[in-house]
Symmetry: C2
């Protein structure tokens, strides 16, 4: 098995175990076992759990970077807002231990904390640019100034990052489809700003979320 | 010192120490010392740290109950929205360790978790009633249905409860006045729904926050 394959497998198994049990309960030995390698082989690639968590953060980082991309061959439309929002929540669900444990993880590892702050600021700036593009395209209308856009971007980031701990400290809902509920909450922030013409022709625009692959891009 | 005085002092000192150092770093001995009593005297009143945290939760609970009160002698106005929002954030700041450690505290103590869920649900229902009252009074207008009100109430609760960990995992802002920023974010959710007539005559309604005691109630 090539070194890169081993590293990928370690990271993938670590994410799975951390999501299921929380990062504190999972040792590097557990991860090695799940990845089907010896503890010695794992230590050859990652010195400790912090290094594995930073490697996971690389994936989180790449996911967010990929989530803020708009089509460059046409004017953005409401469907694009929903794709971005859904992409965001899909990533939060994939790396859910990270969002559950955000405070503890960043307090424990100052390097991770600094990288997370950069990601957060880039995310807010990216959201603000998207909102500005949507405003320019008429998807968002009404009286929205720069302060509004900045605050809306911060709000959306807050709701995206903390929606999962919000749900998990609340009442459990049986048969709950988590991502759709997060998407609905985030769309509620934008809802009053969405222009009628953006909604026109999108039946059930508030609840029906087109999957990226099912779109007409 | 009467028993109730001792208990109040223990709770007040525990809040101060937990806010400053986090609840994990503070022992019952530290709390006894800060309250000027012996560890034995503290144990007479509270068997362990969990019981002290539950006693603090009684105060959190009472604070939220008091925050959702509207004047019953007149129609609610925009100033009342701001008073409620500001009251909410003042409480979150007072009991900030609780909101910083929400996940860990509720995971550790199932009784506290159950009481918190009740508080959360009551808070969402209370916010929804307030929004409905504001809608009835014309402070909030536009096309708002029951689903919108419910989702807005959940959003506002999420932002209130997780605004502090959001700020604290982000970039520290020097000279930062924390409550005003939280209030501004929460008001941003409501902003597009606020009727012009509610804003009329309130100069700088978005940024100037009347203190409760300075109000014209």
């Amino acid at each position: 098995m090539a070194a890169q394959d081993t590293r990928n497998r370690v990271v993938t198994e670590a994410i799975r175990l951390f999501n299921a049990q929380g990062s504190a309960a999972v040792s590097t030995n557990h991860i090695a076992e799940a990845a089907g390698i010896s503890p010695g082989n794992l230590y050859y690639h990652y010195r400790n759990k912090e290094e594995i968590i930073r490697a996971i953060f690389d994936r989180v980082d790449a996911h967010w970077a990929a989530s803020f991309v708009l089509p460059d061959d046409r004017v953005p439309a409401l469907g694009d807002v929903r794709v971005v929002v859904r992409q965001t929540f899909a990533g939060i669900w994939t790396y859910r231990f990270f969002y559950r444990e955000l405070g503890a993880l960043t307090r424990r590892d100052p390097e991770l904390a600094a990288r997370f702050r950069t990601l957060r600021e880039r995310g807010i700036a990216g959201t603000e640019s998207l909102l500005r593009a949507f405003h320019g395209a008429g998807v968002i209308d009404g009286p929205v100034d720069d302060d509004d856009l900045r605050r809306l971007a911060r709000l959306m980031m807050l709701v995206a990052e903390f929606w999962l701990p919000f749900e998990e400290t609340g009442s459990a809902v049986p048969g709950y489809e988590p991502i759709d509920e997060g998407v609905a909450l985030l769309m509620q922030i934008l809802d009053p700003y969405l222009a009628d013409r953006a909604l026109a022709g999108m039946a059930g625009a508030r609840s029906a979320i087109p999957a990226r692959e099912g779109g007409e891009r």
